[in-house]
């Protein structure tokens, strides 16, 4: 029978003291303990808004009557819509939607006023970019009220009957790209970007810190190598890993979630390589900054959190305040989400995609330069 020694307060306390000392020595961990809640508070408290307003809207005004004008000014003054420009053809509206410049295109048809006043209920066409159904839902719901109230003072006296129960106009909403408003269509392709961000940054984040922790860095540095050889050599194998993940998600999206794939898959795969590289560059740069593997993981988390919340993956990008959108625009995931959704749902081609792609490339280049500069060729 083994004799068990009694619990000792002194031993327990020794561990407590040691942990506090180690915590205090590891500045980064200490910073994270304070930093993570602050960042979360900022993001969840201020940046995230499930009910986006001031959505960019283009108007095709084919009828410049008084009623048409008052409808336009009502749109301009509304909370949900932000009038960005007037367009002059359907094709122009189509292109603006495809590029993601506007969320809505409102078409006020010819003879709108004429038909309205004759009580023929003219059709008002609203085309919405519904790739993210949650971004457009409330705006569309508010539209009917907006129209009725804006036409209210025109429809008095003998015309009062027109403002009847089902409204003076026929509102036709085209939810483009995702007509059924299935949120999986938005989330599953987006997930590809999220998964890649998480794993790619993490894996390479550990790459150099592991060498340092295991002592193999000393050996590596004693060999005649250049920083770029080491960094690129560590990035390339994981591009391959990234492609396995991307393929897995695409296969699931196609056959499990039946996400429509309108655009070119080769184009998507090309863009994916740029995105993977950007994330690997980020990871490798973290790796040069972090002292140990724990710090690398913490940095990954610090990068992942805003990527997840500010990229438009979980919450509509346009629902965020300007400062959050500025941060979001820097993150590669934001642009990659636009690319994935653009290609798969909208059928975007190279012309639309390149607008986002160059920003990811810029990010990758800047981050890699920092990494190469930070990579220490000596043990100093």
């Amino acid at each position: 029978m083994k004799k068990r020694i009694p619990l000792s307060f002194s031993r327990f306390w020794a561990i407590v003291i040691k942990e506090f000392i180690q915590m205090r020595r590891d500045r980064l961990t200490f910073g994270m303990i304070v930093g993570i809640p602050v960042v979360q508070l900022m993001l969840f408290g201020f940046a995230i808004n499930g009910d986006p307003k001031h959505l960019p809207t283009a108007v095709l005004l084919a009828d410049s009557s008084q009623q048409g004008r008052s409808l336009l000014s009502a749109l301009k003054n509304s909370d949900y819509f932000r009038f960005v420009r007037e367009i002059h053809s359907e094709a122009e509206g189509e292109a603006a939607l495809a590029r993601g410049e506007v969320q809505f295109v409102v078409t006020i048809p010819e003879n709108f006023s004429y038909n309205l006043l004759r009580g023929e209920k003219p059709t008002l066409l609203v085309e919405a970019d519904a790739t993210d159904p949650s971004a457009t839902g409330n705006a569309i719901a508010s539209l009917r009220i907006l129209i009725t109230s804006s036409l209210q003072h025109d429809l008095t006296g003998p015309l009062a009957f027109l403002a009847g129960s089902d409204g003076p106009v026929n509102l036709r909403v085209h939810a483009r790209y995702n007509p059924e408003g299935i949120s999986q269509y938005n989330i599953v392709p987006g997930l590809m970007g999220v998964v890649l961000t998480m794993t790619m940054v993490m894996i390479t984040g550990l790459a150099i810190t592991r060498e340092r922790e295991r002592g193999t860095m000393e050996n590596l540095l004693s060999m005649p190598t250049r920083p770029l050889e080491v960094l690129l050599g560590k990035i390339v194998p994981y591009i391959f890993v990234g492609y396995i993940q991307a393929t897995l998600i695409l296969v699931a999206a196609r056959w499990l979630f039946h996400v429509p794939m309108v655009g070119s898959i080769p184009l998507l795969l090309l863009c994916t390589s740029v995105f993977i590289t950007a994330n690997l560059a980020m990871g490798i740069t973290f790796s040069t900054l972090a002292k140990n593997q724990l710090q690398a993981v913490q940095m990954t988390f610090f990068f992942f959190l805003p990527s997840l919340l500010l990229s438009g993956f979980m919450f509509p990008f346009r629902g965020m305040p300007d400062w959050a959108q500025v941060i979001g625009e820097i993150l590669p995931l934001t642009h990659f989400l636009r690319i994935v959704r653009g290609i798969l749902l909208k059928g975007n081609g190279f012309e639309e995609v390149i607008l986002q792609l160059w920003q990811i490339m810029l990010f990758a280049a800047v981050i890699l330069i920092i990494g190469v500069k930070r990579y220490r060729r000596t043990l100093d």
């Binding site: 002592g215 193999t216 540095l221 060999m223 005649p224 060729r377 000596t378 043990l379 100093d380």
Partner: protein
């Protein structure tokens, strides 16, 4: 190489913050020599070696290593130097053959496969080449490390405590190999704590607190210390040692097994101090001081220099 020296450096200095770890060291190592680098832990041996192969940037100092400028041509030096780190620094999750192959590729060794195979056979690792490096015992790890840092046929090998934690048989084999290779023209700079290894070196340098205290052949180093040493045997040696240390002329009294080595630089004073023990049951005789006596002496002195 114009000088015939594999290493020829002057004033090498390295500071970490306020702390001067290597303090203006001059060192000349002839080509084909086995040079021993000794000194207590933290004396700056590793830091000095790291500066030689470009792993640390020197704060001051100049000179050449294999004829290349130590400051500006560290890339060229790296290509011709083999550096064996104190701690095993190859990949534990790679096999022996994979590690060697990796290193061979890093140095762009021509006829890589042959070179790797030859190196495996030369070091008697043939039966184990598929084994993961992490599973090897200390002695085998050391063989692998040596094989790996020689795969690119370096002309200078910097070995940092290569035999720490290695059993006596493996150590002896290791040193035989070193001398064979030195006979073929390779130059070695080896740090060690073992006196028997120090005695196997052609020449020695002794470092303490970043200062080079002495250098030369073992005989020169011993002679340079001008130490007289007496060996005392008998009962209650620790008490005698305590007494002797208080006596004038005694610089150190150190237990060597069952005997006490009492040393000092003033031979006459030392003899007076020893006198009370020249009787039964003690045995006293004058001996030639060994390297160890000298090094303990040097170490004691240098501590005094640094005392506040």
């Amino acid at each position: 190489m114009t000088t015939g020296f594999a290493i020829d450096v002057r004033g090498m200095t390295k500071r970490f913050g306020e702390h001067t770890v290597v303090n203006g060291i001059d060192l000349q190592v002839r080509a084909g020599e086995v040079y021993g680098f000794l000194g207590p832990n933290g004396s700056g041996k590793t830091t000095f070696i790291r500066m030689l192969c470009g792993l640390l940037a020197a704060d001051a100092g100049e000179g050449t290593c294999l004829g290349f400028d130590i400051i500006s041509e560290s890339e060229a030096i790296k290509r011709q130097v083999g550096y064996m780190t104190q701690r095993f620094s190859f990949y534990e999750d790679l096999s022996i053959a994979e590690n060697l192959d990796f290193v061979a590729r890093m140095y762009a060794v021509s006829n890589r496969r042959t070179a790797v195979q030859e190196s495996i056979e030369r070091l008697g690792l043939a039966g184990r080449q598929k084994q993961l490096a992490g599973e090897l015992s200390g002695g085998w790890k050391q063989r692998l490390a040596l094989a790996a840092c020689m795969i690119h046929n370096p002309t200078l090998l910097l070995l940092d405590e290569p035999t720490a934690g290695v059993d006596p048989k493996a150590r002896r084999d290791f040193w035989e190999q070193i001398h064979e290779l030195a006979a073929q023209g390779l130059t070695f700079l080896i740090t060690t704590h073992y006196m028997d290894e120090a005695e196997r070196c052609d020449r020695l340098a002794y470092l303490s607190y970043g200062n080079l205290l002495t250098s030369g052949t073992a005989t020169e180093v011993i002679a340079g210390a001008q130490l007289t040493t007496w060996s005392v045997g008998g009962p209650k040696l620790p008490e005698i040692a305590r007494e002797l240390r208080k006596s004038p002329g005694v610089l150190q009294a150190v237990a060597f097994g069952t005997r006490l080595h009492v040393s000092g630089t003033d031979a006459a004073a030392l003899e007076r101090a020893i006198a009370p023990y020249r009787r039964e049951p003690y045995t006293v005789q004058q001996i030639h001081p060994g390297l160890e006596d000298v090094f303990i002496h040097l170490m004691g002195n240098s501590k005094d220099n640094f005392a506040p």
